[in-house]
């Protein structure tokens, strides 16, 4: 409802007006959600300006920052963070764009398969990809170095998972689907007349592609690149599992070390704030990039038939390219995990003698292990609950902003987006500080709240985008025909939002169930979280158990995705 209020005079207090319009309930709900989101954010900022043990305050000071900037490695760490994030983003977005172009514009055989192959790797939780690639690329015990030595007699340790290149390779592969998903629609719904007019002006196909097609896709590429860069800055598993052993420090791993190993909340939050500043700068560029791409809007509502280019025998090369990504993205890591999960313990020789030494011991061990079973159970229950709660709260907040006349509702726009600037690990640092000493510490509530805050922006922005697209008149028509706000919300807004609600639910479920970086600081004995348990196994060197747990996890995920796909007729896209 556009109850646009005149700026000059306010005749009633906004609460009275909200009551009269019956919008107090969404306003209150949004305020509660907003408070939950803002608290850890503010705590992190506050805590970075004070020293002293957790739970005690010694007044505001700058000691943490002095320590952070006196750190001799700070510049190196900054360099590492940026290089790692930019490298992964470049690799992932570039590869994703190439795959998108192959799928959309070439006559590569096996279209149906080729279209989906770049997406399947999304299914595998990042922690499992890290584990698998470490098993493959580890310098001494790694499978690939072992093979080079055994079959080619190469003694040098060619591959090193614990190097910058290793980190960029693993996280870069994880960045491919986003690049693919951002660029596929651009290549698919490209207005053909833009290319046709170039042909008519005398441009040959290759020239046209270089001068017209790719430049017009540049803004979308830039958006995907910056978003992947931001994901790199925030990413947790790769820096901690691969960077730390190789002594390549980035901000996320430094925050983790200060909090989990040194228990220095002040230092952890100060490093966090530096990281947040980096994220904010990145987000600013993201907003700029998206605006830029809106100005370049080549995509219209018209259903164009894109011209597919006959690339001759090259089509087999392009097919191979897609297939190779599919192999590296999911098949190879999956096979490695399965094999490792079925050998008694992991080393190169035992690995190579599979399947003669196949055992199911690891599965028994893992399934008997209470921390795995409760972790699995908790992660399932929590991710379903959190998906529902977060999506609903996101819709209510978007509804409050765009559909009620509550004064000051616009501030939720900011609050709902704020966690995007806070890497999930940083949010959980904030929550640990808040909950320490309260009954909520070491409870599933803490975990749930952490996941809620971390994923809220996705639910909120998704709902906002969809609600804005629903004509206001649809609400107003309900109003004048006798509906109160709750009728409007439940009978009009929610049903119309159904398709996007389904997508958001599914996305948050998938993200939450594989989450490590929020949960890692908030788990406790008896309150384990599945992916964190795998993370711990791996850190303790129980690689075979970690692999077995990972396989069980992946099977459950695949079942869940299939159920979602068939039961809710959901399209497989993220």
């Amino acid at each position: 409802m556009s109850f646009s209020r005149s700026g000059s005079t306010t005749h009633w207090s906004s609460i009275k007006l909200a009551l009269r319009q019956g919008t107090l309930v969404p306003l209150l709900a949004s305020t509660v959600a907003g408070a939950v989101i803002v608290t850890p954010v503010l705590i992190v900022l506050w805590r970075s300006f004070t020293t002293g043990k957790l739970g005690f305050s010694v007044g505001l000071n700058l000691n943490n920052y002095l320590r952070v900037f006196a750190d001799r490695d700070i510049l190196k760490m900054l360099g590492n963070s940026v290089f790692y994030a930019a490298g992964s983003a470049a690799l992932g977005t570039g590869l994703g764009a190439m795959l998108a172009w192959i799928v959309a514009r070439t006559n590569t055989p096996g279209k149906a398969l080729v279209e989906l192959m770049p997406l399947y790797p999304i299914l595998m939780p990042p922690i499992m990809k890290n584990i698998a690639w470490i098993l493959l690329l580890a310098p001494r015990s790694g499978i690939l170095n072992g093979m080079l030595q055994q079959f080619f007699g190469i003694e040098a340790l060619v591959f090193n998972a614990f190097s910058m290149a290793g980190m960029i390779w693993v996280f870069g592969l994880a960045c491919v689907p986003l690049g693919y998903l951002f660029l596929l629609p651009v290549f698919l719904s490209f207005d053909p007349s833009l290319e046709e007019s170039a042909y008519i002006a005398g441009s040959r196909p290759v020239h046209t592609m270089m001068r017209i097609t790719f430049p017009l896709a540049a803004p979308a590429f830039l958006s995907a690149f910056v978003l992947n860069f931001l994901r790199g800055l925030r990413s947790f598993e790769t820096p901690v599992l691969q960077g730390t052993p190789g002594n390549i420090k980035v901000f996320v791993s430094r925050v983790y070390d200060s909090m989990a190993l040194e228990f220095n909340a002040g230092l952890a939050t100060a490093y966090s704030v530096v990281l947040v500043v980096l994220s904010v700068i990145t987000l600013y560029f993201y907003v700029r990039a998206t605006r830029f791409s809106e100005r370049y809007a080549t995509i219209t509502g018209k259903g164009y038939r894109v011209k597919v280019i006959d690339i001759g025998p090259w089509k087999y090369v392009t097919f191979l390219a897609v297939f190779l990504y599919f192999l590296a993205g999911i098949v190879l890591p999956f096979v490695v995990l399965i094999v490792v999960s079925m050998i008694p313990y992991f080393d190169y020789d035992t690995f190579m003698s599979f399947p003669s030494n196949a055992v199911l011991n690891n599965y028994y061990t893992v399934l008997k292990h209470p921390s795995f079973v409760t972790g699995l159970y908790n992660s399932l229950v929590l991710s379903v609950t959190i998906a529902i709660v977060t999506v609903l709260a996101g819709i209510v907040m978007a509804f409050t902003i765009h559909r009620t006349r509550a004064a000051g509702a616009k501030i939720f726009e900011f609050i709902g987006t704020v966690p995007l600037a806070f890497p999930p690990l940083v949010l959980s640092v904030g929550l640990v500080i808040i909950f320490l000493g309260t009954p909520l510490y070491n409870s599933l509530w803490a975990l749930g709240i952490g996941l809620f805050v971390a994923y809220f922006p996705y639910a909120f922005r998704n709902a906002s985008g969809s609600i804005v697209n629903i004509h206001k008149e649809l609400d107003e028509a309900a109003w004048v025909h006798g509906a109160r706000w709750r009728h409007v919300f439940f009978k009009i807004t929610l049903p119309i939002l159904k398709p996007s609600v389904g997508g958001a639910l599914f996305y948050i479920f998938i993200e939450a169930i594989r989450n490590v970086d929020v949960a890692v600081l908030l788990t406790a004995p008896g309150k384990e979280y599945g992916p964190v348990t795998l993370f711990e196994y791996f850190r303790l060197g129980q690689w075979a158990e970690a692999a077995a747990g990972g396989v069980i996890y992946l099977i459950i995920l695949i079942v869940a995705v299939s159920v979602a796909k068939f039961a809710f007729k959901m399209k497989f896209s993220l």
Binding site: M1, S2, F3, S4, R5, S6, G7, S8, T9, H11, W12, L17, R20, Q21, G22, R405, H471, E473, L474, E476, A477, A478, W479, V480, H481, G482, A483, R484, H487, K491, I492, P495, I496, K498
Partner: protein, 367 residues
């Protein structure tokens, strides 16, 4: 009892006055708000529906106060017992035609049998029987329009508000629906407020018209009054098909005034005198294009308001033709009907004589 009464309604959007001290009262029938886009007519309608809150003023429907800023009364839209037809119909895309029409009835906890009966009779009224199970997207624009109407009528509101309901239809369908809509509203016997920017539509459909500009009511009257006696130069210009020139009242005598028009080479015109006219007043002279005689020859001595000019061009419009005649420094448009015997056409560049009945001229006092 008046179905609608509005007193001193004002609303500011940022710096622009969307409504500027609007007051009027309407007993019953169909009332149109006519004006260009941005004149405040839609804001007025939405304020009456309770979808906008004015800054000041009072709105009463059927003698019950609905909005009163001074008294702190603001009846929410869902309790005003009105119908509203939106410009883009605003049919809920996830509901069938039946559910769309039944929506308000179900909210009122009407028994299922009665809901069904009322929905079906409303759909029959608008000629859409048998389409209950369709979704809005499966209907044509005209049919969606009817569903929107049925949705409002099914609730048996005391007043129905229509916001440019025909503007999304193509020209031919618009003219058909215009007549049909009027018949329908009269048949149901409900009062209606109708927003439009099309003067022809306003004149065909309504019992009374309010012409608005820049948030102000410029004139309130029957279509005939508005057309033949525009009270404001803007009304004359908007309602259309007239040439408007500056003049000066020279004399007023027994209901007739003489006006000097310098732009018509200093011609003197006579017309019915407006009430407040006095010699020396500056004024606007409105000459309706369709009520002028043209002749290649001089008119007999004693003919009213004779002018002499030069034909500059003609535009053929099918049944009608516009003739542009230069008189002094001003061009005047004369519209002739194909069969009209009053006009004998001449070629371009020829001298032409015009005669205008005093009933075809309106004088509006004011600079």
């Amino acid at each position: 009892m008046s179905i609608i009464k509005v007193e001193n309604l004002s609303k500011l959007f940022k710096d622009t006055k969307a409504l500027d001290d609007v007051s009027f009262e309407f007993e019953k029938g169909i009332l149109s708000f006519l004006g260009p886009s941005g004149c405040g007519k839609t804001t007025l309608l939405r304020s009456i529906a309770g979808l906008e809150v004015p800054d000041t003023g009072t709105i009463s429907i059927a003698d019950e106060v609905q909005t009163s800023i001074a008294a702190g009364i603001l009846v929410p839209p869902y309790a005003r017992k009105i119908g509203f037809v939106f410009q883009n119909y605003a049919l809920w895309p996830h509901m069938t035609v039946f559910s769309n029409v039944a929506f308000g009835l179900k909210l009122r906890k009407t028994p299922a049998e009665e809901v069904k009966h009322k929905v079906l009779s409303a759909l029959e009224l608008v000629g859409l029987q048998g389409r209950e199970e369709r979704y809005p997207s499966q209907l044509s624009g005209g049919q969606q329009q009817r569903v929107a109407l049925a949705r409002s009528l099914a609730l048996e509101p005391r007043l129905i508000l229509l916001d440019e309901p025909l503007s999304n239809l193509d020209a031919k369908l618009r003219e058909e629906m215009r007549v049909e809509l009027k018949k329908l509203i009269k048949k149901v016997g409900i009062s209606a407020l109708y927003v439009t920017h099309d003067q022809e539509e306003a004149f065909t459909i309504s019992d009374a018209v309010i012409v608005m500009d820049a948030g102000k009511v410029l004139q309130y009257g029957t279509p005939d009054e508005i057309y033949n006696h525009p009270a404001h130069p803007f009304v004359a210009a908007f309602v259309g098909h007239a040439t408007i020139v500056d003049g000066k009242v020279v004399a007023v005598d027994s209901g007739v005034c003489r006006v000097l028009v310098p732009e018509f080479a200093g011609a003197m015109l006579i017309s019915a005198a407006p009430k407040q006219a006095a010699p020396g007043n500056l004024c606007k002279v409105v000459v309706r294009n369709g009520e002028i005689r043209l002749s290649p020859d001089k008119f007999p001595e004693g003919t009213e308001n004779v002018l002499e000019g030069v034909m500059t061009s003609r535009e053929y419009r099918g049944g009608l033709t516009d003739h542009r005649v230069q008189i002094g420094s001003k061009e005047i448009v004369v519209t002739s009907h194909k069969l009209c015997p009053m006009i004998r056409v001449r070629g371009d560049g020829d001298t032409t004589f015009l005669s205008i009945d005093k009933s075809a001229i309106s004088v509006i006092v004011g600079p």
